[in-house]
Subunit: 585 residues, 2 copies
Amino acid sequence: MYLPSWLSQLYRGLSRPIRRTTQPIWGSLSRSLVLSSQRRNPEFSSFVVRTNTCGELRSSHLGQEVTLCGWIQYRRQNTFLVLRDFHGLVQVIIPQDESAASVRKILCEAPMESVVQVSGTVISRPAGQENPKMPTGEIEIKVKTAELLNACKKLPFEIKDFMKKTEALRLQYRYLDLRSFQMQYNLRLRSQMVMKMRDYLCNLHGFVDIETPTLFKRTPGGAKEFLVPSREPGKFYSLPQSPQQFKQLLMVGGLDRYFQVARCYRDEGSRPDRQPEFTQIIDISDVFRNTEIRFLQDALSKPHGTVKAICIPEGAKYLKRKDIESIRKFSADHFDQEILPVFLNTNRNWNSPVANFIMESKRPELIRLMETQEEDVVLLTAGEHNKACSLLGKLRLECADLLETRGVVLRDPTLFSFLWVVDFPLFLPKEENPRELESAHHPFTAPHPSDIHLLYTEPKKVRSQHYDLVLNGNEIGGGSIRIHNAELQRYILATLLKEDVKLLSHILQALDYGAPPHGGIALGLDRLICLVTGSPSIRDVIAFPKSFRGHDLMSNTPDSIPPEELKPYHIQVSWPTDSKAAKAH
Amino acid sequence: MYLPSWLSQLYRGLSRPIRRTTQPIWGSLSRSLVLSSQRRNPEFSSFVVRTNTCGELRSSHLGQEVTLCGWIQYRRQNTFLVLRDFHGLVQVIIPQDESAASVRKILCEAPMESVVQVSGTVISRPAGQENPKMPTGEIEIKVKTAELLNACKKLPFEIKDFMKKTEALRLQYRYLDLRSFQMQYNLRLRSQMVMKMRDYLCNLHGFVDIETPTLFKRTPGGAKEFLVPSREPGKFYSLPQSPQQFKQLLMVGGLDRYFQVARCYRDEGSRPDRQPEFTQIIDISDVFRNTEIRFLQDALSKPHGTVKAICIPEGAKYLKRKDIESIRKFSADHFDQEILPVFLNTNRNWNSPVANFIMESKRPELIRLMETQEEDVVLLTAGEHNKACSLLGKLRLECADLLETRGVVLRDPTLFSFLWVVDFPLFLPKEENPRELESAHHPFTAPHPSDIHLLYTEPKKVRSQHYDLVLNGNEIGGGSIRIHNAELQRYILATLLKEDVKLLSHILQALDYGAPPHGGIALGLDRLICLVTGSPSIRDVIAFPKSFRGHDLMSNTPDSIPPEELKPYHIQVSWPTDSKAAKAH
């Protein structure tokens, strides 16, 4: 359980992430890039014509002859312009004397966002004209020569103003959107974070980076996998959702300490994204074991019945009567559950004899169990265990949102709070047939060592060695200790899950040949970088993302293919209308 | 042109690669792993039960209590066994006293290649029983406790003996083949080399690692690309052969210094692997400009006619008459070319008046031009330029092989010789219609700056800014400076190459929006690691390779898919027999 410390180690070397900056400051990018490499500064200007980057010049460079390359960000009255590269901004003075007419012409006539190369001297800005908000604000460049490297045509939108553009326009002109401060920051921070992870794994802990194939065999029932037709009639590869099987085979092959920054393919066009849901509740069933209150009594009399509650700290101060009403309505509409709000200050239990009764009779026990205080509100529900938990988990987030709109600071957006979720059940009843079992995660997850005996008597009670890692309420990774014993794996697959063992024979065989005990974890890199940079969408941390429908709007992908180009793959398109016509025929 | 120094820098941190070791020594692996990280030793035993790896124990560990995990490599007379992990081998003494009966039972009964965990004390081997060939040969482990973690069934082949197995058997049981010393060495060295490359690019030179999509639009005429059907009828993605377009778009997007360890997909089932061919020849046409020798005269009278020769140093000493005959036959059969062997020592020009005549009349010029010496042989040919060059290039390699079989050391297998190939032509005549042009590499390569004017007059003479990197005669990488000017790109695509510009409109548009001048290089990682490790096949440096027919023999991939699972992708298989039946119908 070392990963939170691992991630926090990772952060130490990185700059403080920013969250939804409305006024991006180029300087913070350049500072973070210098900070991140600790022992040495990367040479950003090796192998190229430029002597320096635009963003790195300071008073210490005064008098130096420099050559810079960049985009024209801004120009004022043909007297100066601001040049931009990935490292920052610098002010360039356009020479006014007659002898520099050709240089002046180039710099005054080049359209915005054209690429230019300038050479000149680093000089001080005149007294009073320094710009303390700009990291290069103490200096400017007195230009001697200039060259227009590439002129820019009229842009579909201004680079500095991109945030107000629609998502579709940004995706269509992705290569322009990438010039924005925020995208440069996100992608460069991502690169640094991945490099830190690699450094940690390879250099500190002797892990070995191994690429596994992405053209592989279809997973049984892998409905979300992309297919790739081969040149053999009727034979297909599949793009695997994860290097799952390979990870295990590498362990059998003695490649101890394997890792990979892997590409995973999930064709989720037809399924909404899984939303992680986490609940933290307190079970107060025992308090009401002998209650006279009808709906609580009803719930507790059923097999999985329970009485659960959450406490909203200072809820009495911030929640209004209409809030409570909307919470009750939401619970009834979406969960078919009754919610009983209990104010510890009994005067506020508006017209609710039940709540008053509870406070009178059960007050000491409730206060002890839930550690409540005078201004808190308790939301109490009763019913089937899973349903009650889901409802209260949802209400907890709703109430937090509500309190935050009333000005209460509950969740510090600059804090990174990590959480492990453990002790998942190994099996769940199948939705379509609750008497049969299915794996809660996947059939290779090992049972909890203390529960192995239950596999043969009460498999539903077996906990798994699966673990999820949560950052600020978002699942960022998960993994498990795997089954290394072929007999146990066969028993779970064939006897408990009734799976066709033949499809996985290569895995079972591999386990028979001296597989070591093993386990691992996978992080969702896109989501993690999203949380670290405070980006609203994973599309902001991926260079060329697909739209939510899986399209690339820049190049119009996926696209049609002429039938003759499908021939080598022995496939043809089944057009929906064609198939109807065929039926009618 | 900094890459050779870049690669040689890379090597400094790595251990000396080995070439086809017949007697692998586990110690060299462990030494190399420690060497490679320079500043710090990776902690191979962090986060796990073992206290040490099998391969790292030395006399300095004497007296330490250790816990080791590994596979049973060897056992003798129930007195000791040799335990193996990825780091090396260590000798473990099986306790003989009655009180340790259970430990003895575990260690004596576990089959070979079972996984065990042992705890005990590091002790000296008795005097005279040290094994100097084994890095851990001064010590052994006196075991106190042992646990069988997983028993191994009868293996299809012995791990230590794997090199004699067939390629097919090795691929079928890849997870066992991976336990071999050579595969462990190759994959771990690969991981280290890639890490060094990343360290160099990111930390030393400020490059940014960006992942580009692998599901993208089909390249016009990209016959070697894999197709991926989408869930929209008739629409397909393609797995790109390289991140070519994305690289350029990232440059337009200001992501200066981009790199990626990219997955490239090339469906080469129907095409043999491109074989790189390099020639080094000397043109001696001028020597023979006024020759009387018929076949030389004929050749020189034609438009691209030339007389070329190579010198085989000390050829007269090692080449026999039958060698020369087979060279002449090879040239006639495969290239339809005449070869004239000229021995500088005129006595040996067996029955060849032409050769004798050449030596008499042209001797001083030949010796000057070709810097030949007394024992050398000159192989001379005449004909069309490309054909003559290809033949002599081939003969040069053939003769080198021949001389090496005669014991001459020409190519030191431990040397890494790098070479840049430059000044490629930008265009070549189309094979099917030599009046039309096609790109020698791809249409985005920039012309040589000195030749730009020729684009409008004699495009065939334009050199490109393409460059290839060659290591020991093998092409390991290539790249080019790209066209950043949209007008020039449009002229080359539309006017010179007669391509449909519409298909590349997003690239042309991107160049119009202030694309900076840019270029790059791509290394073929598989081939590079192959050369460094001296592996006979790239399958030896890939964890899970496909067979030469693109099959995965371990899992039987590609595989059939039931028709109903093709429905969501709106495709159906066109069976070769079905289509015939349809026609008959």
